[in-house]
């Protein structure tokens, strides 16, 4: 039995279909990522799975329980860390944790082992009011509160948004250790580079799932020839390459450009020659494997073309 199962799940707000017939299954113990930009529908999808928003159509089960019919029983088995900080700012760290434990009919002492790895990092501040914690500490407290009743499935809505690269890395290391304890984790993020931390990811855009796979397998889904191109004057390089008759797409990618050729086979020497004829001196053109962001953009392009 999958830990999370969705079939044609749909949610509309007026004329907008925020989640549009989404179907997917997450295995028990999996660390599953939902990746997409703001407005893709990630939060609406998660809110339906944690039983705080009723679907308009389709169905969803978490840990075998229906998110609509069995919502009461299900709430005891899932943990939810919303995107916005939602603890009590006027209660202390310790009071917040004790409160969440008591709501679920348990105690901090009984389930301390479940949260120890994370909670120990903020325990020195247990008498500080939650509203006065730093961003990173708030996050650790929120995660502790979401775990204190030993949920079987944990939902995290954009835990790393607006968080700097170092804290993001630390947060994912924490999730990795949590996964080792056997809990199923469903996490959303707008950062494509976080995909590699997940067992599998779903790419979401415009309310729909574009693709689902293990992060390493996305490269194989990119069917066109892809090259990393480097030369001085990046802005002019982008403009020039876009004018190349065989160009399918040209996107900046860190220190190089990713150039996709429209032909089934492309010779890097042709591209080098074209750039040389346009006055570019030292040019590097190397075939590369597609990353998750390449795949996401290609799928977005296809979705737009179909629309």
């Amino acid at each position: 039995m999958p830990a999370i199962f969705l079939s044609s799940l749909t949610k509309r707000f007026g004329a907008v279909t925020a989640v549009d017939g989404v179907s997917l299954a997450v295995d028990e113990g999996e660390l599953f990522g939902l990746i997409g930009p703001d407005g893709a529908g990630k939060t609406t999808l998660i809110r339906m799975l944690v039983t705080v928003l009723a679907p308009d159509a389709g169905e969803a089960r978490v840990d075998g329980l229906d998110v609509v019919r069995d919502f009461r029983a299900l709430r005891r088995r899932l943990g939810y860390m919303p995107g916005r900080f939602s603890l009590y700012p006027d209660l202390t760290v310790a009071e917040n944790l004790a409160f969440f434990a008591s709501v679920f009919g348990t105690t901090v002492e009984a389930n301390y082992a479940q949260v120890a790895d994370i909670y120990r990092q903020i325990e020195p501040f247990k008498n500080r009011r939650a509203g006065q914690l730093s961003g990173g500490m708030k996050q650790k407290l929120a995660l502790s509160c979401a775990l204190i009743h030993k949920p079987r499935v944990l939902f995290l809505d954009e835990p790393t948004t607006g968080v700097d690269a170092v804290s993001r890395q630390e947060f994912w290391e924490m999730l990795g250790r949590l996964k080792a304890s056997g809990i199923t984790i469903f996490v959303s993020t707008p950062y494509m580079d976080e995909a590699s931390r997940c067992d599998r990811v779903a790419l979401m855009q415009g309310g729909r799932i574009l693709s689902i796979d293990a992060p390493a397998r996305f490269a194989g889904r990119y069917t066109r020839p892809l090259f990393a191109v480097r030369a001085a004057d990046r802005h002019r390089l982008i403009q020039t390459l876009r004018g190349y008759p065989h160009a399918h797409s040209v996107y900046a990618f860190g220190e190089s450009l990713h150039y996709t050729d429209a032909r089934p086979h492309a010779d890097p020497a042709d591209i080098r020659a074209f750039l040389a004829s346009n006055g570019f001196g030292e040019v590097q053109v190397a075939p590369i494997e597609a990353g998750i962001e390449d795949v996401f953009m290609a799928l977005m392009d296809e979705q737009r073309e179909r629309a």
Partner: protein, 242 residues
């Protein structure tokens, strides 16, 4: 390269806490300057001082030749600003936002009319001119917000995490706009959490605990720290401080 931003031992304290600690750097005209740092490193405080919103405790900074402490109103006329959190009024239409900001930045009604037409055409938004901002997708909003921030041809535009949460295609279109503005001589001062975007800057500074720990071209920083990517440079510097 004449500096358009000159910062000399700029400092800001809050009680016993020093948020910005004797920071000195220069930014050249037309440069794309990446201003990086971990959460809480002091970036926002520093940006507030450079935009004339917060008085320095000590030290000095000039933007476009004006002192940020004593000539704040002149500074504000020479700069544009946009952030991820606040940029446009959601209950006003596209056209109304342009008119509102044009007025704030002191443009004449005639200039606003002319610029509105050109801007709508360039962004392919003519059909949506009377659409409320809240009905626009985030990516369009951010591109519009940037265009409005440079509507009055400022000498410097400050961008505070302008691409947070934006889809990968729009994020790149946004950077196309940044390059285009820089090529017209606008100086771009930008913060971001996307390390690939750090590579798009001419120079990058990394702030750690109120100080500028490193400042160089992306290539120079990677060479100095023997790092494969800007992400590695960032993680090494910011984690070293903890």
């Amino acid at each position: 390269m004449t500096p358009i931003i000159e910062v000399d031992r700029l400092t800001r304290t809050f009680g016993s806490f020093t948020a910005v600690d004797h920071v000195s750097f220069e930014v050249g005209r037309g440069e794309i300057f990446g201003f990086l740092g971990a959460n809480g490193a002091g970036k926002t405080t520093c940006m507030k001082m450079l935009t004339g919103l917060l008085a320095p405790s000590s030290g000095r900074a000039t933007v476009a030749g004006y002192d940020v402490a004593t000539q704040t109103e002149r500074v504000k006329r020479e700069i544009g600003y946009m952030s991820q959190r606040f940029s446009l009024y959601e209950d006003l239409s596209v056209r109304e936002n342009i008119r509102f900001y044009g007025g704030i930045y002191g443009l004449s009604m005639r200039a606003i009319r002319e610029k509105t037409g050109a801007l709508l055409e360039r962004l392919d938004l003519a059909a949506s001119a009377d659409t409320l901002i809240k009905a626009l997708p985030l990516g369009w909003r951010q591109k519009l917000a940037f265009s409005i921030a440079v509507l009055h041809d400022p000498k410097v535009v400050f961008l505070d995490e302008p691409t947070g949460g934006v889809d990968p295609i729009t994020r790149r279109q946004f950077w196309d706009m940044i390059y285009e503005a820089a090529s017209r001589g606008v100086t771009v001062f930008v913060t971001t959490h996307y390390m690939d975007e750090a590579e798009y800057c001419d120079r990058v500074s990394i702030m750690v605990d109120g100080r500028i720990e490193a400042l160089d071209t992306p290539g120079g920083l990677k060479a100095t720290y023997a790092a494969g990517s800007m992400n590695d440079v960032f993680v090494r510097l910011a984690r070293g401080a903890a």
